[in-house]
Every structure is written in C-alpha cells, then in structure tokens.
Amino acid sequence: MVRYWGGKLVSVIISLFVLATATFFLMKAIPGDPFTSEKAVPPEVKAKLMAFYGLDKPIWEQYLIYLKKLIHLDLGTSMKSQYQTVSSIITDSFGYSLRLGIFAIIVSVIVGVGLGVVAAMYHRKAIDGIAMVIAVLGVSIPNFVLASMTQYLFGYKLQWFQVAGLNGPFDYVLPVLALAALPIAYIARLTRSTMLEVLNAEYIKTAKAKGLKRSVTIVRHALRNGILPVVTYVGPMTANILTGSVVVERIFGIPGLGKYFVDSVSNRDYTLIMGITLFYAVILMLARLLTDLLYGLVDPRIGLRSRKGASS
C-alpha cells in the first residue's frame, strides 16, 4: 500500500515538472508580452515593468526562478491585475467551476447510466433507438454550439432561464446541460454495450434460476458489472468537463476558473497561465487516482496491490 501510493506520488511530481517546463517554454513562444496590448505605454515605463517582473532576464533564468518559487508553492501574482495573487484568483473562481463540474458529473453518470440500462433492457425496440439517437447527438454536437443554441432558445426566446450569470439554482441548468451532453452520450453508449454483454452472461441466468425478479437481477447482478467501463471513464470525463467548462463558462458569463484561463492566455498573463495550467493538471491527476480507487471498490478482482498477484 505504501509502495503503491509512493509510486503514484513520484509519478505525479515528475508529470507536473514536465508539464510546467513544456508550458513555460511554449508560453514564452507566444509573440508579445503581458504589456503589448495596452496602448501607449512609454518605452521607459515598459522597461521598468519588465524589470519588475524579471522579464528582462534570459529565458532559462526566468525558468529557474519560476521553478524555485513553485517548489515553495508560490504561484506569484497576476501580471494583469497586480493586486491579486494567482492562488487567490484560483481559490475565488474555482468554486463556480467546481460546483458546475460536480453537477455535470452527477447528471452525466445518472442520466448516462440510466439511458444505457434502459436501452439495453429494450434492445432493438423503440426506446433503444431513441436513447441511441440522443447519444449520437450528444457526441456530435460540440458543447459551444449546444450552449449557444440553448441559450438562445430557452434563455432569449422562451425566457425560461436566465441568459447568463449564476445567481440561483436554475441558472445552473443550461451550463450543466451543455457540459454534460457529451459525457451523457458517451456513458450511455458504454453502459448499453456492456449491459448487453452482461445480460447474456451465465451468472445472470444463475440469478434468474434463483427466482429473482428481473428488476432485482438487473440492479443487483448486472448493473455493477455493467458500469465497470463507466468507472474507467471517470478520469477522462473529468478532463472533458473541465476543459469543456472553459468554453461554457465564457458563453454563460460565469466567473469561473475557465473564464480566467481563457483571459490569461489572450492577455499573456504568464504567471496566471502557469498557475491555472498546473492547477488543472493536479485536478486531472486526482481524478485519475479516484478512478483507480473506485475501480478497486466496484470490482473486487482488482486490488491496489494486485501486482503481487495473490490469486489469479
């Protein structure tokens, strides 16, 4: 167990280091600097600013300084809004993204698994067809199209929901829908195909031969085996929803982390780009670990120490 977590920790640190390095140099390759967009900055003022942020030093020196600060968990201050540290921007805005993301994940899993199970139970019937059409639409419509369409239809035309902002619980509906559409579709297809396989398994016949009701058989015996691949998808899904929220937050004017991320790139706000990128990376790695843990919980054959091979 200690070895398992130790190994995980080392790999997380190495990944973060590689990511920080790559992002740093790629970011520096963008033409311009944090102060190019501002009009009429006198050259001497700009030189002072550059010196203040250490941007006049050679790139490798800037890189080493950044790494040194990073080791002390200091992400620096934003170069655009001088009064805010990168950490405070992240803590202030991540709450919105987190809530949005968690709702989207919950909705995706419940609706996706539900659709998949129903489709498998009524294989080749009308319900199956409808569920799969929804799934194809969900996979093929990009979230920004879905976001703007629903915003126009339900927000502007029908006025059921607010067009933008996050003030009440109902304001979550449209952004969550936009974020969850793709994972719902993906999970529905995954669940359907594994459930079809599982429902033909011998142990389902055994369960039936015990005299269990069909509903009990499905919930107790089939579902747990049928959602195994969905558990594997939790990691990539978190990535999808996080990266999706960058665009969706922008469209719905939600002051979440995604919005700051987009802004930071167009402003070349170096410290903020680095900070948010690394933060996203940590979240994704946590999602990975969570997937491993969940997998062990759902499937008893997979233990965290399975490499030792207690039994085959």
Partner: protein, 331 residues
C-alpha cells in the same frame, strides 16, 4: 413412487433468420420422486434446451414452446406466469450450470450469492441466512466456510466454485435439481468428486435429479434411468443397466462404441459415429439418425419411427429395427 415432473410431447423452437430452428421435437419423459434421470446426447441434440424449458430460462423471443406441456407437481409450467415461475425457480427446482467460471457473479461474494435465494424464498433474515449458508458450504465440502463466505468467486478454484453452485442450487431444498453438464468444464479428478457429492446429497435429501450430459461415463455411477436424445427427439430410454448392457437404438450403440472402456481388450479401436447431426432448420422427414445409421432401410428415409417398448424393464427405442417385419440385427 410419485411422479413430480412429466414432460408431454414438448416442442421448442427458435425463430432464426433462415426460419424456425426446431431444437426440441416431441419429447416425453417423467421423473419420479427421488429418482435420478440422465439425459444423454451430443451437442445440439436438444438436451439443454429441454432442461432450460423446464425452468423457462430460455429468452423468449427468439425461443417459444410450440406444443406440449411440462407438468411439475400438478402445475403446467408452460402457461405459468412469470411471478409463478419466480416462486418455483430456486425454491422447487434448483439448477446447476456447466461452467462454474462464468455462472457465478464475479462482483458479489459467494456468501451473498447463496443467501440471496434463502432470503427471497425462505423469508430468512440476514443472520439466519448466513447460518444456513455456512451450513450449506460445510455440506458441499468447502473447508473453512466462515472465511470462504465473504470471498469472491475469483478466490475459488473451479471445483470449489461448482461446489458453491451446488450449495446455491440446493439452498432451499428443491424437489428437483437440474444439473446441466455440471462436470464438463472441470478436471477429470474433480469431476468424480463433484459427481460423488451430488450423489451423496441426493441420497441424503431424496431430491430428484435430471442430469444432462454428453458423457455416458458420468451417468453410470449416479442415475437410475437414462434418456438418449438425438436431433431434438428421445431415441431410447431405459434403466442404466439396460442402456449399457443391451442398447436397442443404433445411435446409443454408436455412443457406447465411441467411448473408451476398461473392459475391452487392449488395442481395440474406438469407433466414432460418422457424419453430422441433422439440420434442425429443416429436420428430415424420416428418422433423424437415418443418414448416419449403418442399418438404415428404405422405410427410415420417409417414415419417422415411434418410440416402442423393447425388452422387459420398460426400455423403449425409436427405431424401425424393432418393427416385427424388420430383419434381425446383430448388435
């Protein structure tokens, strides 16, 4: 002895792309209380379909009972409702499947899989069911049941899993146990143990057993009565002594000759049955075995023989050779 199961003229078919696959075509047999009956035949002979029809485990569609009845303790299972079947499955009829590697749920503990039926049918609470499950595990020869109770199927070997399956099937003291090739997927040494266990338990509880197998060797030790199936029909029935000593149908004789025996002289070659089983999408008009039969006559091609009594102990065979006009055949 009371008859607990009577299968009358059972026809089961499957709807398939090319038409109707007639998997079972007019099967008759009965099982008495405490009796062990073997249904023997090669793959595709309809033996498994017959067994699963009794439990109504076949998915419908594509399968359907075309004709006939299955009377189990006075009820016709063919028209029973799904709720009635749920009350019979696991409680009155237990079933053991072929492959213990796949017939247990991999994500559920063995204990939970045994107690499930007890809680449903016997109205036990969790701790009563646990006690009974431990007792069952002990009964089927699983050592250290307390530890095994909470383990998963992947912690069990093949033989142990089949023992656990037997515990599940017998948990509610069913009147009838259907074992569908229970030893086919096991090692030979384990096969003998499992058969011995089933025999012991049958004698202990007086359960009736239908043993489905393609292995005549498995039959000899355990069953009183043997039903030989071919092409979806019963071709011969009799006590195991009669079937082994004086088989009356050419197919049964072929089966016995293709089986290795210790009492035959060394170097005697095994004789396989040439040819392939009939196409059940378009079954032959005459005798189903006709195309592979060494004694086939003209009548066999166009007229299906009846199952007629032969010998003294209620042995029957479905063959024209037993017609008074047929020539005498040396077995």
């Amino acid at each position: 002895m009371d008859t607990i199961l009577r299968v009358n003229d059972l026809h089961v078919s499957f709807r398939a792309r090319g038409g109707e696959v007639q998997a079972v075509r007019g099967v008759n047999f009965e099982v008495k209380k405490g009796e062990a009956v073997a249904i023997v035949g090669e793959s595709g002979s309809g033996k498994s379909v017959t067994a699963q029809s009794i439990m109504r485990l076949l998915p419908s569609p594509p399968s359907f009972v075309k004709q006939g009845s299955i009377e189990f303790m006075g009820r016709n299972l063919v028209d029973a409702t799904e709720a009635e079947m749920e009350a019979i499955r696991g409680k009155e009829i237990g079933m053991i499947f072929q492959d213990p590697m796949t017939s247990l749920n991999p994500t559920m503990t063995i204990g939970h899989q045994i107690t499930e039926g007890l809680i449903k049918h016997q109205g036990m609470n969790r701790s009563e069911a646990r006690e009974r499950a431990l007792e069952l595990l002990r009964l089927v020869g699983i050592p250290n049941p307390e530890a095994r109770f909470g383990q998963y199927p992947h912690n069990f070997s093949g033989g142990m899993r089949q023992r656990a399956m037997i515990a599940i099937a017998l948990s509610c003291n069913p009147a009838l146990l259907i074992a569908d090739e229970p030893t086919t997927a096991l090692d030979v040494t384990i096969q003998a143990q499992i058969m011995q266990l089933m025999k012991d338990l049958q004698q202990k509880f007086g359960t009736s057993i239908i043993l489905i197998t393609h292995d005549l060797g498995v039959v000899a030790d355990m069953c009183d009565k043997v039903i030989v199936m071919y092409g979806g029909q019963v071709v011969e029935t009799g006590t195991k002594w009669d079937i082994f000593a004086k088989p009356q149908h050419p197919y049964t004789r072929g089966l016995l000759r293709s089986m290795p025996r210790l009492d035959l002289p060394k170097g005697e070659p095994l004789v396989p049955i040439d040819g392939t089983p009939p196409d059940l999408l378009a079954p032959p008009v005459g005798c189903a075995f006709c195309a592979r039969c060494e004694h086939a006559m003209e009548v066999c091609l166009n007229h299906d023989p009846e199952l007629v009594p032969v010998g003294e102990n209620g042995q029957t065979a479905k063959c024209w050779l037993h017609h008074p006009l047929a020539k005498e055949v040396q077995a």
